[in-house]
């Protein structure tokens, strides 16, 4: 997941409505009941994106109930005390709205994109289901089948996703990031009405919610609407998020998966890394820059080395997942030429791995050049401006950061922090993170099919 790579907001003060040629306007409020409200005005088109984020993700689930946060997200589309089954979706549709929701490790978010003059209605609907959901035990079995189908589609039908799960489970020995967001199938099948209702009671309250509205709106008008809708909800105080700490990583780990469905072998290595909030977070901006210059597209070091020079891969790159409440990850990957023969595929992966090792060793030893550093930073700055073209991207930038324990000011200060990254910072970050003992290396290989 590339989160921070597309995120970059030029500084202006939160709470003070500022718009400059180079910046965006953001206005924030906290309602009396604890709801945080962010308004991002953009008057280019008469549309609005309305998102509600809750500070609950799969990493907040009780042990043994993996998948329950995501399961509950599905169930939020059932009835409330005021709306019948299916009525939520129907109302959004008849107002020309598009809506959906998603769950990740640290957050669950619900959103509608809609004509700006329908915003009040969307806020009413979301405020209603925040506290008035009327779930019944009979809702459980059918929707549980749906999430299990979702798991089959996303994970079990896809060898690449399967090895990804295995790698995460190895990387995080204790922390719940090692458990897939969608859940382990055996635990999903046992999720009960009581388990999902516990999620609702514990996490769905005003004090645990962030409302973000981007588009053709006036902040003060939105604040008044928010007070009339979300502001009337009551709920408990937000509780601290307590997760198991990750013990020190002392051993390089390898995951080798053979699967007869594989036609395209893959190589990937994931390093445990600080995030913007946790661990040695001072390295986080340099890791964003490092991911760009090491593996962001055809001019990057890994692409040049593997695809153009060594010709040990058809694609190669790197990415940094730094917007996490707890530790993040730094990944490098290589895709060799296709191969169905397991022995040949192993050789190709070994060659690609050797190229990656050489590229990383060179980086660790010699650091980065001024020109590539500047190019990467300029590229990230441009991405920030491009990101502002899309209301959803903008709203997601803030939502993801805030639910990962960051502040509005963290988001706004980010471009300056990136532009301040030096070659020495990148080298120090690389040396701190690219340690074999903090990594899991995954090899996805074809498997000879048993002869009938």
């Amino acid at each position: 997941m590339r989160v921070w790579s597309a995120i970059f907001l030029l500084a202006c003060l939160a709470g003070a409505s500022v718009a400059s040629a180079a910046g965006i306007e953001v206005k924030s409020y906290t309602l009396k009941n604890g709801v945080e409200l962010l308004v991002l005005p953009d008057h280019r088109a008469p549309v609005v994106t309305h998102m509600v984020w809750y500070r609950v993700g799969s990493a907040d689930e009780p042990e043994g109930l993996s998948g329950v946060a995501h399961f509950f997200e599905h169930l939020m589309f059932k009835r409330t005390k005021r709306l019948k089954d299916g009525e939520f979706s129907k109302i959004v549709a008849e107002n020309g709205g598009q809506h959906n929701a998603f769950t990740s490790y640290d957050q669950t978010a619900y959103y509608q994109s809609v004509a700006a003059d329908r915003l009040a209605l969307m806020m009413k609907l979301e405020a209603d289901r925040m506290v008035n959901l009327n779930l019944k035990p009979k809702d459980i079995a059918t929707e549980r089948d749906v999430i299990i189908e979702e798991r089959r589609m996303r994970v079990e039908n896809n060898p690449s996703a399967l090895i990804g799960e295995q790698m995460m489970a190895m990387l995080f020995m204790a922390h719940p990031y090692g458990t897939p967001v969608i859940g382990w199938k055996s635990e999903m099948a046992a999720l009960s009405y009581d388990a999902v209702m516990d999620v609702y009671r514990q996490f769905y309250s005003p004090a645990n919610a962030i409302v973000i509205i981007a588009g053709d709106v006036e902040p003060e008008a939105v604040r008044k609407l928010a007070e009339k809708t979300y502001g009337r909800n009551h709920g408990p105080k937000a509780e601290p998020r307590l997760r198991r700490a990750e013990p020190p990583a002392l051993a390089a780990r390898r995951v080798v998966m053979e699967d007869s469905r594989v036609r395209q072998p893959e190589w990937e290595r994931v390093y445990l890394a600080p995030s913007y909030r946790a661990g040695e977070s001072k390295h986080a901006p340099a890791l964003s820059v490092l991911a760009q210059l090491l593996g962001g597209g055809p001019t990057s070091r890994l692409y040049r080395r593997l695809v153009v020079e060594d010709q040990t891969a058809t694609d190669a790159g790197a990415y940094y997942s730094g917007t996490m409440y707890d530790l993040g990850q730094f990944s490098v990957y290589a895709v060799p030429t296709p191969e169905s023969d397991p022995a040949q595929a192993r050789q190709r992966l070994a060659a690609a791995e050797a190229s990656v090792e050489a590229a990383l060793a060179e980086l660790l030893q010699n650091g980065v050049e001024a020109a590539e550093l500047e190019r990467a930073k300029r590229r990230l700055r441009a991405d920030e401006i491009y990101a502002r073209d899309n209301l959803m991207t903008l709203a997601q930038t803030f939502g993801r950061a805030l639910t990962a324990g960051l502040t509005i000011n963290d988001v706004l200060a980010w471009p300056d922090r990136i532009m301040a990254v030096t070659a020495e910072d990148v080298r120090a970050a690389a040396q701190a993170v690219l340690r074999p003992e903090g990594s899991v290396t995954g090899l996805l290989l074809p498997k000879a099919e048993a002869k009938p």
Binding site: D42, R44, A45, P46, V47, F77, R82, L83, G86, S89, K90, I91, A93, E94, N95, G96, G97, Q98, S113, V114, A115, R118, L121, L125, D128, T142, D145, V146, I147, I148, E149, E150, R152, M153, E156, N157, P159, S260, R261, V262, R263, Q264, G297, P298, T299, V308, T314, D315, V335, T337, P338, R375, R378, R379, A382, I385, R388, D389, N390, L391
Partner: protein, 441 residues
């Protein structure tokens, strides 16, 4: 609360979408007419281009994948810049530029900061008029296309779609995979690539949309300089009109996966069919409308058989299709298929209700402004409208076409366009109790 919601709906029903979109046309001497939406609030310019009759349907026989191959090479060097120099220039200026081939057209998409616009347009023009096709770049992209073929082969939805198109368009260019095959990709030479670009990327085939921080005068100059060097006329191969006619029945592609990935469909209609809007309204109720559709309700909500199910009417230049897809556990694949067949039959025979018609029209009209929510989206819409032969005032008229659809229209097109007994089903997986009834193509 419910009463209040209804009051709001009534109050707001008069709101008109897309009023804010002011489409200008810019005549670029020697190049043609571009559509422009000017907006200076962000320092960004988004561009989309299409070349008509330059898609994968133009791939020479036994050289399937040529158009995709060319698209993959267009940012691998142009003019006096080799691949590394060209890509470095794009990266330094943070210009996003990508190329892709669909069945009928080839597309280019570009995004640049205003301050780099001159160089951005120059590079885009060079990429299309003077692509280098250097030998090392060709081999690199060939390997990447082999990877794409392998990736598609291990992706159940891609396998299902590929088989469905092969069955529906046997003997026609639409039946061939866009990415080609390992054999066809091996057969493509540098001369083939050069010939494809030279004979398809011409001013006469070019459709342009430009959105953002640029004035009409400047757009005219930028576009003239970028594309003036393209040849005047393309010489595409003729593509025959064709009716999608896959054999009625089931084709099972055995794969050791727990979820059967199913694609089903039959012939449809082209974009200029007078029933186009009625078909869109009908399909919204059948399977196009997400949680508002009958298929989602019956297959997912009531029975938990699938995470996704949808149907679409997709138009091409020379054919139209109705296509649907669902993913369902192997053990219940037969049940899912039976329910889908039943719902399509019910729609054909019984049509929709007044309430369904009203909901479909409200969604389809009310959501239209969302198609214009970012510069990139606007550029994409503007190119699509031009390809379909519309004038800029279409955007203001479009919702009236939806509003004009009556229940009689919906019920009539359901009878005309749905034919459950003629569906061709491709099932990729290990479905219980589902066997092939037609041979694979």
């Amino acid at each position: 609360m419910k009463r209040l919601i209804l009051a709001l709906i009534v109050l707001l029903a008069g709101a008109l979408p897309a009023q804010a979109l002011d489409i200008q046309t810019v005549d670029v001497p020697g190049v043609g007419t571009a559509w422009l939406v000017e907006n200076h609030s962000l320092p960004i310019i988004a561009v989309q281009l299409a070349f008509r009759n330059a898609g994968t349907a133009q791939d020479p026989q036994a050289k399937e994948g040529t158009a995709t191959f060319v698209a993959g090479l267009l940012n691998e060097g142009a003019g006096d810049m080799d691949a590394a120099a060209f890509q470095q220039r794009l990266e330094e200026l943070a210009i996003e530029m990508s190329f892709a081939a669909e069945r009928d057209e080839s597309f280019a998409v570009m995004k640049t900061l205003t301050e780099n616009r001159r160089e951005a347009f120059r590079l885009l023009g060079l990429a299309l008029s003077q692509p280098r096709f250097d030998a090392d770049a060709i081999e690199r992209v060939r390997q990447q296309l082999f990877a794409a073929v392998a990736q598609a082969e291990q992706t159940p939805s891609a396998v299902a779609a590929k088989r469905w198109y092969a069955a529906a368009f046997a003997g026609h260019p639409y039946g061939r995979p866009k990415e080609g095959s390992v054999d066809s990709l091996k057969a493509i030479t540098r001369d083939d690539l050069r010939a494809f670009a030279a004979s398809h990327f011409a001013r006469g085939s070019l459709v342009i949309a430009i959105v953002g921080d640029v004035t009409p005068e400047e757009a005219k100059a930028l576009l003239g300089q970028a594309f003036g060097a393209l040849p005047e006329k393309a010489t595409p191969a003729p593509v025959a009109e064709v009716k999608a006619s896959p054999p009625a029945g089931i084709e099972v592609v055995n794969r050791p996966i727990p979820q059967s990935t199913i694609v089903f469909g039959h012939t449809g209609i082209k974009r200029d069919d007078p029933d186009w809007y009625a078909a869109q309204v009908m399909n919204y109720t059948l399977g196009g409308g997400g949680f508002s559709s009958r298929l989602v309700n019956e297959v997912r909500e009531k029975r938990g058989l699938a995470y996704y199910i949808y149907t679409i009417f997709a138009p091409f230049d020379h054919a139209g299709i109705m296509l649907g897809s669902v993913g369902t556990q192997n053990e219940r694949a037969a049940e899912s298929m039976a329910i889908i067949g039943t719902e399509i039959t019910k729609m054909r025979d019984g049509g929709a209700t007044e309430a369904e018609l009203a909901l479909a029209k409200k969604y389809l009209t009310g959501s239209y402004p969302l198609s214009f929510a970012s510069s990139g989206k606007i550029a994409g819409e503007l190119v699509a409208l031009q390809l379909d032969g519309f004038a800029p005032d279409f955007v203001a008229k479009r919702n009236a076409y939806i509003e004009a659809v009556t229940l009689d229209d919906v019920n009539r097109v359901a009878k005309r366009l749905l034919s459950p007994e003629n569906l061709h089903w491709v099932v990729v997986g290990a479905p219980d109790g589902v066997a092939s009834t037609v041979p694979a193509k």
